[in-house]
Amino acid sequence: MHNLIVSNTALALTGVFVLFALWIGYKQDLGIAKSLIVATIRCVVQLFIVGYVLKYVFKIDNWLLTICLILIIIFNGAYNAKGRSNGLKDSFKISLTAIVTSTIVILLVLVLDGSVKFIPSQIIPLTGMIVSNSMVAMGLCFRTMSSMFKDRRSQVMEMLALGATPMMASKNIIRDSIKTGLQPTIDTAKTVGLVALPGMMSGMIFAGADPVLAIKYQIMVTFMLLGITSISSIIGCYMGYKSFFNRYAQLIK
């Protein structure tokens, strides 16, 4: 950790980049000043709170507290995924199911195979990664599904009219939405290391870890992300498509 020296003065000076973004927004008349300032303040406040909370939780090293924190992350993720759902019915329930399932599956595999230990300093950052990726994948799935049900409304209705079940009539939409949910992770996996050094790997190298060890962890994380987005997208889409139909198997949105 000796390589990491970020003084408060240095940190404050990096704020000049925010001023630069504000200046560009003003010059180009982008109307982003308010959201940029809010985002900056939220980023600083949230990270400081999280930093101090994590410091405390890591120090205490209590399994119950760790689980509480995991649950908070999961609920927050599901709530945010709901916000990205374009008003999809039951989106919180669906997001929660997908996030809980992917978190349990991934954590179980990683803990049982010994890749990570069930200690707060490993489990909590990992849960954050799982939930945020699951949340992004589901947001993409929900949005894609909503726009596809709108664009392909007549096709879905024709299939229903021919006697297809809602599931059969939605099959192509579900498939395309899952693909959309997975695409960013697949694209990132293709270019990892070539275009950008991912956050975890960079963080480990910054902290002085052996780059070979860092890439091993990064490979693990990449595989994990593929698993998370697959599980979340599949659960999200297969549960989500039902929201577009009523109990008489009629298209309602």
Binding site: S154, Q155, M157, E158, M159, L160, A161, L162, G163, A164, T165, M168, N246, Y248, A249, Q250, L251
Partner: protein, 218 residues
């Protein structure tokens, strides 16, 4: 009691009444024609009959039972609805004719599909044609065949001949006659076509959501 009936059928969108108190009845193997100005509620009425919309009030009865009592999917396999501008699924004619088999979880009967193609003046050579190479009339005929691969009891045709050339129209009429006479399929035909209106034995008019019998047995 008719095979398919509506009693005091109403359908509203917000405060707007699209369908107003329609009482309608069609007997088995009958052919009924419904006409009326654009936007008068004909397609909405057809969708209500096909259980693709739920009435605001009133009900649709099929063979004496409120259609709410049927499983919607199995009902639609008996009361089949075809639209004016259909979307063909997949890439080839085959994929479209396979669709009804796929949803019924049955294996595709190619000989039956070829026979069906012949009823609309197409043939075995068309089975593997790309849907992009089909004319408007051919697309409509293929789309209609999807509705009759497994013969339904009622066929609701929503302006299926609109915009078709005479040859395609004749093929569609021939197909309707074939299924009506040979398989006793009840046909409810929504149309703007003057010739079809002229030839209709049972003609109804829907204007501003209200239905009137124009020509019939009564």
């Amino acid at each position: 009691m008719g095979q398919l009936e509506t009693k005091k059928l109403c359908y509203d969108v917000g405060q707007t009444k699209i369908i107003k108190d329609i009482n309608f009845s069609v007997d088995k193997a009958d052919i009924v024609t419904i006409t009326g100005p654009s936007g008068s509620g004909k397609s909405t009425f057809a969708k209500l009959l096909a259980s693709l919309l739920t009435p605001t009030s009133g009900a649709v009865y099929f063979e004496g039972k409120n259609i709410k009592e049927y499983d919607s999917v199995s009902y639609r396999r008996q009361v089949s609805y075809a639209v004016q501008q259909p979307t063909l699924f997949g890439d080839t004619v085959r994929e479209n004719l396979e669709f009804p088999y796929m949803i019924c979880k049955k294996s595709f009967d190619e000989q039956h599909a070829i026979k069906a193609l012949q009823t609309v003046d197409l043939g075995a050579g068309d089975l593997d044609r790309q849907v992009t190479s089909l004319s408007g009339g051919e697309k409509q005929r293929i789309a209609l065949l999807r509705n009759v691969m497994f013969v339904p009891k009622v066929l609701i045709l929503d302006e299926v001949t609109t915009g078709l050339d005479n040859a395609s129209k004749d093929s569609v009429h021939k197909m309707i006659d074939y299924f009506n006479t040979k398989h006793q399929v009840t046909v409810i035909m929504i149309t703007h076509d003057d010739e079809e209106i002229k030839l209709a034995k049972h003609l109804y008019d829907i204007t501003d959501g209200e239905m009137k019998e124009v020509r019939g047995d009564a």
